[in-house]
């Protein structure tokens, strides 16, 4: 097992993870959490190309997240269902 905790930005497309923690300033979380990106939420990386924003999903709905933000969201990799 031994899942590691790492920034979301490091995940490859197709990988699943659970949100663990935000390294953030105040306003950072708001938009994200409103969209369902809360601690404990399960996400999947849909697309992660170098330099661009990531496209992730919490199951339904696709969200584009800037790279800077993605590096501040710490997640734990999990096995795919």
């Amino acid at each position: 097992m031994g899942s590691r905790v790492l920034p979301l930005g490091f995940l490859q497309a197709g990988q699943d993870a659970v949100i663990k923690k935000f390294n953030h300033g105040r306003g950072f979380c708001r938009r994200l959490t409103e969209m369902g990106f809360v601690r404990g939420a399960r996400v999947r990386v849909v697309k992660n190309d170098i330099g661009g924003p990531l496209i992730v999903t919490t199951g339904d709905g696709r969200l584009a997240i800037g790279r800077g933000m993605a590096m501040r969201i710490l997640v734990e990799e999990v096995e795919q269902q």
Partner: protein
């Protein structure tokens, strides 16, 4: 028993709330049809859409609240929606929810329920559930949330009758109990404590549910805290909150706001677990949209596809518009001549005749001729937006926007700027970061708006007729490039600071209904025409007046006031190749409204648009024409835009800056083009 229906004079107020992309607008249009109108919420720059319909003998007023993901006070949109529900207390709120993205959509629902307002849930896009193999137990969902749930497919008008029926039912039934989410054993006692404080102010507790207020206080809702501090006995609330927050945050290492959000989602998760069944695994849920996105957002194909889409939009605008343009041209020519003749026959000639024929008909005609192009452009933009492609464009451009220190979200207002800079600048409201917003507003006028199109078409048609499309495209491209450069300059010299956060929903691709795209196009196009209609009409008459003063002067000659003004300014444009008074005059009036540039030239050269082309070719050279078009592209935005900039930035300083830099830049570029071009022997 009376046979006629008695219309109850009581009006019922119905508000529509929901996420962006949930189909709320479709529902609004479906309910109100032609009986709608757009205004502004007082004090803010948020659009207010109202309408009405008649049901069960009652007049129902419908307010379309701004689409929001939440009801905090974090953006003007949210504040407007929240305050409306809180203070105006509509009889019922229809919450439109995207059934295929239930959890995220329910976040807003839960907040509405916590407010204790009457809600009916419209489970929209119900038809798409089947393709995704999702089953929602509507009865269970309704039971768990405590509100009626109606499944709808707004684009096909399914479920609307039932929705309205339930809404009216609920409205008549009176108030309901607010939803109480259990926030856990640490937070609950704090909430009770704050609630006690609020209960000590009876008139407040009577107005708004104390528990809801307590939750908001704990969340740190700035708008609410400000409001509450005004009440006697609650001044210490802010300090009290600080204390509680510190305690809780030390306990968890996470800020209270996020915690409350998590707990709300926890509640939502519980609800969906019991009412939603998915047969697909997360993996299978690769929908058609994702497959399309594989291509559209591909790192190599993304940009070429985007450019292709833009090119197609332009081709559509011009090619399809051409026959209409020719038609309108012909009409005005005929109309002008016929009216002139009729007036002479009726005995009205001289100044009056001239005013009507040369001034009004001539001026208006030169401008209205481009209405087909303008509407088609707005149609294309609406299509791109409604289909969901715009969000992808923003995603693709985000990479480049980063070079400007902006992000993809700034891209959409810039795109709209190609239609008209006024709604484009207003669209920057979605940018939460003030710095981003300001930069996007300031570079927006460089996005060549539809009003400058007549100028390009005139000159490009006269000198580059074979390559008209290409030349015009080059101007748009130039505008884009300059916008990027300006953005860089602004970022480096005027603003420094952290990059802001880019989070944007990529809605599933949807085929927009023709009806909704038309409505969108009509909304934007008709407001554009209304602006054109009033300002341009005034300006046209003004120009005519100045061309006829001082009395007795030859119409629109250099000796008239108009000509004098132009002659005074003209030398400035010498190095740019169009140092003649005619050009200068047209540019001056272009400040009032860009469309008028062509109209002014029309009046000065004494010709209708058709004849204008020939006249232009005599007095200008291809190079000076191009330089002139560059100047038109860049210099001062029109009065309407200047006013919008002032309103959205709330600063005369920045407004003057916008005016100033565009003048200087425009002149520099025009001169550059002409001088360099001359060097290459293009004269």
């Amino acid at each position: 028993m009376e046979t006629a229906q008695v219309i109850n004079n009581e009006e019922m107020v119905l508000a529509l709330a929901g996420n962006p992309n949930s189909g709320k607008t479709t529902v609004f249009n479906s309910l109100t049809g032609a009986h709608q109108h757009v205004g502004n919420w007082p004090g803010v720059t948020v659009e207010k859409k109202e309408g009405r319909f008649v049901a069960e003998g009652k007049v129902v007023r419908v307010i379309d609240l701004p689409g929001t993901y939440s009801l905090g006070a974090y953006s003007e949109d949210e504040a407007v929606a929240r305050n409306y529900v809180l203070f105006e207390k509509p009889d019922v709120v229809i919450n439109i929810v995207d059934a295929t993205n239930l959890e995220r959509n329910l976040y807003l629902t839960v907040q509405l329920l916590e407010m204790g307002v009457n809600v009916v849930l419209a489970l929209n896009m119900y038809d798409e559930l089947q393709t995704r193999q999702i089953k929602i137990d509507v009865t269970k969902l309704s039971e768990l949330l405590g509100v009626p749930v109606v499944s709808t497919v707004a684009t096909r008008n399914q479920g609307m009758k039932e929705l309205v029926g339930r809404a009216l039912q609920v409205a008549k039934a009176g108030n309901r109990e607010p939803l109480k989410i259990n926030y856990g054993k640490e937070i609950e006692p704090e909430l009770v404590a704050i609630e006690q404080d609020i209960l000590s102010v009876p008139e407040l507790a009577a107005r708004i549910d104390p528990r809801w207020l307590a939750v908001k206080v704990l969340e740190g809702d700035e708008g609410i805290l400000e409001e509450l501090e005004k009440y006697p006995g609650l001044e210490h609330l802010l300090d009290k909150r600080h204390e509680i927050v510190n305690r809780l945050e030390n306990l968890w290492g996470e800020d209270v706001e996020s915690l409350i959000t998590e707990l709300r989602y926890g509640f939502i998760g519980g609800v969906t677990k019991k009412s939603v069944k998915r047969s697909q695994t997360v993996e299978d849920r690769l929908s058609l949209s994702d497959k399309i996105d594989r291509v559209v957002t591909n790192r190599y194909l993304g940009i070429p596809i985007f450019l292709l889409a833009m090119w197609a939009a332009f081709q559509f605008t011009f090619k399809v518009g051409e026959p209409f343009v020719v038609g309108i041209e012909g009409f005005f020519e005929w109309f002008g001549a016929a009216t002139g003749t009729w007036m002479v026959n009726v005995g009205a000639y001289g100044l009056l005749n001239s005013l009507i024929v040369d001034g009004i008909i001539g001026g208006l005609g030169a401008v209205l001729v481009f209405i087909p192009n303008i509407f088609l452009l707005f149609f294309a933009i609406s299509l791109l937006e409604d289909s969901g492609y715009m969000a992808r464009a923003a995603y693709i451009m985000d990479r480049f926007m980063h070079c400007l220190g902006l992000h993809g979200k700034s891209f959409i207002p810039l795109m709209i700027g190609f239609g008209c800079n006024v709604p484009a600048i207003m669209a920057t409201r979605t940018l939460e970061n003030k710095r981003d917003r300001l930069i996007t507003i300031l570079i927006n006028p460089l996005m060549s708006c539809a009003a400058r199109l007549p100028v390009y078409v005139l000159f490009a048609g006269a000198f580059f007729s074979a390559h008209q499309g290409l030349v015009i495209f080059s101007l748009y491209l130039l505008g884009l490039v300059l916008a990027i450069l300006m953005g860089l300059v602004l970022k480096r010299f005027l603003f420094s600071g952290e990059t802001s956060h880019f989070v944007m929903e990529l809605p599933p691709y949807r085929i927009p209904t023709l009806k909704s795209t038309f409505i969108h196009m009509w909304e934007r196009g008709s407001s554009f025409i209304r602006k054109a209609g009033t300002i341009i009409f005034i300006v046209v008459v003004l120009i005519w007046l100045l061309s006829n003063l001082p009395v007795g002067v030859e119409y629109a000659s250099q000796e008239s006031v108009l000509g004098r003004i132009g002659s005074f300014v003209a030398p400035v444009f010498g190095p740019a190749g169009f140092g003649n008074w005619e050009a200068a005059t047209a540019l001056i009036f272009g400040i009032l409204a860009k469309e008028v540039v062509v109209g002014t030239l029309g009046v000065i050269y004494g010709a209708q648009e058709a004849g204008l082309t020939e006249v232009i070719s005599q007095f200008w050279t291809p190079l000076s024409a191009y330089a002139f078009m560059v100047m038109t592209l860049i210099y001062i935005p029109c009065v309407a835009v200047i006013a919008t900039i002032k309103r959205e930035t709330n600063s005369w300083g920045w407004t003057f800056f916008a005016v100033g830099y565009s003048l200087v830049l425009g002149w520099l570029m025009a001169v550059l083009v002409y001088q360099v071009g001359s060097l290459f022997g293009f004269s």
